[in-house]
Symmetry: C2
Subunit: 396 residues, 2 copies
């Protein structure tokens, strides 16, 4: 028999698989081009050409044992140095390779971080709506997830509600901006206020409260919006970064954790991240891709492709009566559902071959998430389906 923890998770995951199977079933009936799958966050924009060039150069220039070999569990020192310099230049920080641990994507990074921080029963605060995996990551280390209810007018962190949730058990707060599922970019003002609240609570409680900023979507932003760099606002802060979306490399599992030098217990934490990377079985971030991204720090995917998708979908949905905040980042829209039951709404949408994810999966019922990292053509073709869906509920 599988473990008790996994029993529940396997049951949940079969819902996701059911959605996937439904997509395949609909495709078989109506043709793949007539099924509008807005459920997956799999980047459709091509990785930059630099990736291929970098791989070839590395294979031709460096020794195979170096490229594919073991290194320090925290990653190649020269790669971490290059990343640190890049960050320093871009964000006017003052970090070195010692602040960085290369990780198997942001997911691997968050896990080694929570392994490092959490004793059983410690609390981790998230702001609804939030990426559902945070619940599992915290549960991996027997922490308790504490959910701050959403502010559904702005979808910025609800700071008033946060204050009441912080206790002596609070070990960490996770934020995610640009946000999955709303696409909202948290403003500098909110980051400053958040930092102030956490600092004051640390003083009041005599504890360290670590702020973890999960940033796989940092580079996927529109309208010249700036994403505040959290290390500059709060002492006890980490960033979990990933190249999954910024370079369209989600399958390669490459990212890093960066930590503020002056945080509480910095040395212990960095040592622990190194060991956690090893003992959780990551051992190290994949070696070739550590070297690849070091050669591609300035590279970017073509964000205008996502922006065009956002614009057509946002404009159309709001025109036909859906209420939705205009996202300035990531590749998600998070419209309100015309009925309170978002799960029922997603079921109904299937009759128009629309595959959507209920907001409940993100701790925010009454909404749906649309991943618009699909082709522009498919989005255009899906617009009539949304019209039919809207009509069903007389959204207007």
């Amino acid at each position: 028999m599988i473990s008790n923890k996994m029993k529940n998770l396997v049951a949940t995951s079969s819902t996701i698989r059911a959605m996937f199977e439904e997509g395949k079933r609909l495709s078989a009936i109506y043709g793949e081009e007539n099924v509008f799958d807005y459920s997956l966050g799999n980047p459709n924009v091509e990785p930059p050409e630099n990736i291929k060039i970098a791989i070839n150069q590395i294979l031709n220039k460096e020794s195979a044992n170096l490229i594919h070999g073991y290194m320090n569990n925290s990653g190649y020192e020269d790669v971490r140095t290059k990343i640190a310099k890049f960050i320093n230049k871009k964000y006017n920080t003052n970090i070195s390779h010692n602040n960085i641990v290369m990780t198997c994507g942001a997911a691997g990074g968050l896990n080694i971080l929570l392994k490092t921080l959490l004793n059983p029963g410690d609390e981790v605060i998230v702001f609804a709506p939030f990426f559902g995996e945070y619940r599992n990551y915290v549960n991996n280390f027997d922490g308790e997830l504490v959910v701050v209810p959403p502010d559904i007018t702005t979808f910025e962190p609800n700071l008033q509600a946060l204050t009441d949730k912080i206790s002596s058990k609070t070990k960490a707060v996770i934020i995610n901006s640009p946000n999955n599922p709303t696409g909202v970019v948290y403003s500098e003002k909110v980051m400053q206020d958040l930092a102030k609240i956490l600092s004051e609570k640390e003083k009041e409680l005599g504890t360290s409260i670590y702020l973890i900023s999960d940033e796989p979507y940092r580079e996927i932003v529109y309208d010249n919006v700036k994403v505040p760099y959290i290390l500059k606002y709060y002492k006890n802060s980490f960033i979990g970064y990933s190249y999954s979306k910024s370079l369209s490399l989600p399958g390669e599992r490459i990212g890093y954790i960066v930590a503020n030098t002056d945080m509480d217990y910095f040395e212990d934490i960095m040592s622990s991240l190194n060991v956690a990377n090893r003992i959780l079985g990551f051992v190290n971030a994949p070696s070739l891709f550590q070297r690849v991204i070091a050669e591609c720090l300035e590279a970017e995917v073509d964000v205008s492709i996502y922006q065009r998708n956002r614009d057509v979908l946002y404009d159309h949905l709001t025109a036909i009566g859906f209420s939705c905040i205009k996202p300035q980042g990531a590749f998600y829209l998070f419209p309100r559902t015309p009925i309170a039951d978002d799960i029922k709404f997603c079921e109904e949408a299937k009759q128009f071959n629309l595959l959507l994810v209920p907001g409940s999966a993100f701790g925010c019922p009454g909404h749906i998430r649309l991943s618009y990292c699909i082709s522009y053509e498919k989005i255009q073709n899906s617009l009539p389906a949304f019209e039919k869906l809207a009509k069903l509920y007389e959204v207007k």
Copy 2:
């Protein structure tokens, strides 16, 4: 403050780091070529040329979004199918892609497996000497490691002692052949006897006892020795495979778990491995290297290089009086120490610039591990140092 679990681990890991720093210190004084570091299991034999060819072909032939994109958390279905066919042909089994989950090396594989199997307090049995990380992997999921004492004449699993250790709490048994640290390949007879004991105990206790064979060294064997394929001997068995050593790709984190179809709770277990891969933060085994190894299933590193190292080192050490079983696989020797205190012995060895790992780290004091995956030249140059060390204890 870091978590209680990590506190102890960070303390232990600083011992390993101290060894590494000692190596650097000695190198600075005596020159790198005069320091004989037998402490690391980092393959020095080059990956086969096919790896580079396969990478180039894949980059030129397939779409970048497929190569570097997300796939099922268990891995690409076509890759798993190719591996299953390869296994079926080589070992006369009858498995499909459904029996396989691609993992971030064997370390990632063992972790998702233990996450799947263990409730807190469940026991996992290992045979001393054993790879020290098993203790950490089991501890990650609050299991209890139960150590069967070594049989230091053969270094095969001590089956008599095993019988007494099995209880209703026994969830799994881990074996590792070719073995780290002894290099011993477990015989077919021992595998048959082991399977018999486990089956009988399952019947007696009314439980399922899963056998996990950790096999990163399967292809690193000498003298035409055969490594029994455990799926054929025991129903409830898994193999954790890795390409780290067989193709010299340890940094790339690529391997798989294969499970017997007729095992207890097969469907639940495979679903759970899939979900565990996701929620522990691996998400999936690195995508490009899944496709690469699928093109290199017949490829091999040049094992004769390791064999030459084994022969010169084994012959010399036994000639000067060390007692050591002749290993038939992996790239380790595990000689007895002339004094009971193996840690003290390793300390003493440093005066001759020899870096060795005490057997205590593998649950088997009174021995040392030598990783001979270093250059032949360095091994030859180190022989006088071993002579001086032997003389110190008048080994002869």
